[in-house]
Symmetry: C2
Subunit: 296 residues, 2 copies
């Protein structure tokens, strides 16, 4: 059996690196082989799973410096039928990749807006007068570096190896503790994967809208979790896209959706919310920068 | 007296349009004249005020479709000394600007990532195979359109007029109810502006960190507001940038910071939070797409 995994491409992105880890982990656990399918955007990676073109997708959810990847959350809410199988937390170490011989000759730096934002202090200090140009992924601009020696790109050192390009500066992110959480998502029933993922899952992700913006509209749902001793590890608001000031709330809780306290919480929650979507229960695996599992 | 206003440039951005409205409004109220100072990023617009290069900045805070402008929030928290004077809510109507004679000849579309995201449905329907390239503002790519007839940019129709460029398609945003909230910010004391802005201000914005991620850590501060009948119009979490899973919370409340209930809330809040920053009290002005005040 071979399954396919969608991710943001071209090859060499951090999403691909997380997907490669997952492939190795899955092979070790189940013997299942998997192939990678790069897509031009995160939304298209998720749509690939929803429409059955691939079995899984690995998508970034949140970075410790730049925060939520809103495209992932909005697309999950819209598609309405994807389940999270596993979370991977991976350190992000950016490199400046260029065929230039020194920093002085660089005039333009390309990268994904998240990567540019994560290196803005370094860029201001070492390349204060370059033009910074956002691209659709960290690897999209790599192909043009060989033709233009005044350009550079910010991507992983793994991407530099993959494209056989020189690294001009390593570890250029402003905060050393830079890491990104990825989700492995599938359609609701993928048996082989479900078996290994849902057993003893530690986290559950869900999202809901509240009926009106009155004092305490968000408070009531939060009280439900607090009163049952369920810790929220994250809360994020997103616009409903209907009108300014109307929000959906995305919540990660440290509990399995099938546990007694979560069943109780979900039953009580219904009184205070409008629409509830549960994106599944899953475990969180910390992995290191080389794509190996970190044993705690 | 002439004051200067920083905004995201080049000229023709939505931030400039909001700033132009503010200039007219200010002139009518106080007789003060103002000049516009375009900056290449939102962060630099805010730094211009913090370091005294301009007296004011007009920056986007939140869009009804794409949500928070995280750059604005993160920079406000970091700079630590800016005050919000006024909020402006402006409808956003995007146009496809190009020197091409028809949609068929367009191969590349440039715009700010927020504008691209707000038109993704339209692009998928009418230009499914074009390359979409993010730029630093909606107007940055306008200059190249005349040289390359296969390119287009998404910006306001006002920008098309300003650069004397043809509009190929109007109102291309996916949701008609697309609007952005801008903040006019200054250093804490700008007397002429303070006088007109803080009187009877209806909203207050603040941000805080909580001491630990235990069940209910966010609940306690929210309960303070709810118990005093203060409505939260917005809550947004941002990473502390220290480690994944640690957040700051940005909150807008419908109350003046000098009111009795807010004074009481702020006193009680101190028990539950780590660091509190108050970004000021201000009024919210809805303006129409032509930059005129909407009378309610």
């Amino acid at each position: 059996m071979t399954i396919s995994i969608a991710h943001l491409g071209p090859p060499g992105t951090y999403a691909e690196q997380a997907a490669v880890f997952y492939i190795n982990w899955l092979a070790k656990k189940t013997g299942i082989e998997a192939i990678l399918c790069p897509y031009p955007s995160i939304a298209q990676s998720l749509q690939a799973v929803a429409f059955g073109h691939t079995q899984l997708a690995v998508v970034p959810v949140e970075n410790s410096i730049e925060g939520s990847v809103t495209m992932t959350m909005d697309t999950l809410w819209q598609l309405d039928r994807l389940q999270i199988q596993l979370a991977l937390v991976m350190p992000i170490v950016h490199a400046l990749i260029s065929c230039a011989t020194s920093l002085d000759s660089i005039k333009t730096v390309y990268s994904h807006p998240q990567a540019l934002a994560q290196c803005q202090g370094w860029l201001q200090e070492f390349l204060p007068s370059v033009q910074v140009i956002p691209s659709n992924s960290t690897t999209e601009a790599l192909q043009r570096l060989e033709q233009d020696l005044t350009t550079a790109a910010i991507a992983s050192s793994r991407a530099a190896q993959l494209y056989k390009l020189p690294i001009l500066a390593s570890s250029i992110n402003d905060y050393p503790e830079n890491c990104t959480r990825f989700w492995v998502v599938s359609q609701p029933k993928i048996e082989a994967v479900d078996d290994i993922s849902s057993a003893s899952a530690s986290h559950t992700s869900l999202a809901f809208s509240v009926p009106a913006n009155v004092p305490g509209a968000l408070l009531k749902p939060l009280e439900v979790f607090a009163q049952l001793g369920i810790n929220l590890s994250r809360i994020e608001s997103r616009p409903t896209k209907r009108s300014l000031g109307e929000y959906l709330f995305f919540i990660d809780v440290e509990s399995n959706a099938t546990s007694a306290e979560m069943q109780s919480a979900l039953a009580k929650l219904n009184k205070y919310i409008e629409v509830l979507k549960i994106f599944g229960s899953y475990n969180v695996l910390p992995i290191n920068a080389f794509g190996n599992e970190v044993k705690s």
